[in-house]
Subunit: 325 residues, 2 copies
């Protein structure tokens, strides 16, 4: 498989997806104020970002609306309060988790929604339920993506089975997701090729969603892009659960398409993201995340260690190894 593009060219097929509210919402339980979201929307429009993810379509039967900000639920009117009819080139997406979304109740037909793309997130063993949701959302008139989470712990056989099922489904985009931030660029390269082969066979697009546990989120994103992956997730200042994601300011500095503008992003980071840090929200690379990344396990214990300001890195390594290995 030939590498696609080089540092003097750009690929019109590349789409940048801003996932700040959705993955960043996992840091603050989705309590962003409306001014923040409006400014983020404007920033994405001005920066030439292709998609903006507003949050989750979580079921209000399963999650208490008083415990989470409104972007956990992404009611149609909440999004319209920000974007109106969204008369811009920026497309709108939301994420729907398999098993946590009452999709038949909560996802209206596309003609009644400003949302363009429903991103269905699933663990690999939930694939039949994911396919049901993909088919439903497709019939409702949406673009759909499927984000297969935690593939660093899945077998090659299961990944291939999942990709075959998705290939035969109406899904538009299949995401390679490094949930634990444990994959090295050479693994991203190999997995990208596996995903892209199925994409060529079935006429799908491939996306990448990276985590920064080992300071590799940006590197893995551009490695995937060079291999041919075209949907690139990023977040402002890398905001996202635990070690966070590929920083928008880094990926826009890399991409050569002149439609992308880094200055609006730098302004948003200094005016809107720094205050979140000053309020005490914690995200971004830290050594406990490196450890869970190296050991290829869920970052939940690392998130707790960072929250508790526990600096016993060696003890954390030994305890994680003991528990998981």
């Amino acid at each position: 498989m030939e590498r696609k593009g080089d540092l003097m060219s750009f690929r019109p097929d590349i789409k940048v997806v801003d996932a700040t509210i959705r993955d960043g919402g996992l840091v603050n339980n989705f309590f962003f104020d409306d001014e923040f979201i409006k400014e983020l929307y404007k920033t994405n429009v001005n920066a030439g970002v292709d998609y903006m993810e507003f949050g989750y379509k979580a079921s209000k039967d399963m999650f208490d609306v008083n415990e989470f900000g409104k972007w956990k639920f992404c009611d149609e009117e909440s999004i319209r309060d920000i974007v109106g009819e969204n008369n811009t080139d920026l497309k709108i997406c939301v994420m729907a988790d398999v098993g946590r979304t009452d999709f038949k109740r909560d996802i209206p037909p596309k003609k009644d929604s400003v949302v363009d793309l429903i991103r269905i997130a699933t663990y690999i063993h939930q694939m039949p339920a994911a396919i049901e949701m993909i088919e439903y959302c497709h019939e409702m008139g949406y673009e759909t993506s499927c984000n297969i989470m935690a593939v660093s712990t899945a077998t090659e056989k299961n990944i291939n089975q999942a990709l075959e099922l998705l290939g035969q489904s109406p899904v538009d985009i299949i995401y390679l997701v490094d949930s634990y931030g444990s994959l090295y660029p050479e693994q991203i390269n190999e997995l990208s090729k596996v995903y892209l082969e199925k994409a060529y066979k079935y006429g799908k697009k491939i996306g990448i969603h990276a985590h920064n546990n080992q300071q590799l989120a940006f590197a893995n994103t551009i490695e995937a892009a060079s291999t041919g992956v075209s949907y690139l997730d990023a977040t402002m200042m890398g905001m996202g659960r635990g070690a966070g994601n590929c920083p928008m300011e880094a990926i826009l500095g890399f991409l050569k398409n002149p439609k992308f503008k880094i200055l609006p992003v730098l302004k948003f980071v200094q005016n809107r993201m720094l205050p979140l840090k000053e309020q005490g929200l914690k995200w971004g690379y830290d050594i406990p995340y490196l450890v869970t990344g190296i050991l290829n396990v869920h970052p939940r214990t690392a998130i707790a260690a960072v929250k508790d300001n526990d600096k016993d890195y060696a003890g954390f390594y030994t305890a994680t190894w003991d528990r998981e290995a």
Copy 2:
């Protein structure tokens, strides 16, 4: 050129070089206390690190000994105070800058020194002076390396000329140095191949010294390693000028040779590096460094912005662009 090794193998040719004192010394003017250095030495021995760089051999005629800690000068007795006769597998190195070292006065014959390797750092236009130093140090009985700095602003022709000169010199190791942290992994891959071709032709080894301006120091280091580069510079907690370097804890988590141990490094980081941060020393990724990395310029203005706590990232980008472009 075939990629070398994979995630289930290890390459005995890989050597890890701890550059904490030398590159980290640029953060605190080399004022480390002896307990720190002794503990670092023990840590490197226990972690299986191959080389430990103690600092610079700077000329005392050019630099005031009262303004810098002793590791700016690396007198033989200073090193012996820490390592004695160094009866370990860890080799000792020091850096000598072209034009800033009185090498004929300050570098004794190898038989009188515990230093194993002299690392000669040069800009590409100083290559004849570097060759003179290499020949001198080689005759004195040392291993030598040559670190060609700032190659991201050099022409291919000049890089090739420099590599030819070095190939024909007695130097043992040639370093690919990303001084500005501006190179992407695909460029590291291409440059590594250029360096490695010369290495095969002349029987030299190649090393990599990366900076973390774009959060790519670790990614670039493992990209170079996979391409066949065998000397890998790293520093504890990534300590180094500006955005810092490839973190030792990350590279030891990646390397598969069972001789490498991450736990001593994690202990050193929590016990010795965190206090440096608490004392107010600043290093590591920040957005001004990203900007100078993207624009491929020296980080000096970014270092000043971070020191002054200047958070006008957009203004910094515009000013840097205006001045440099």
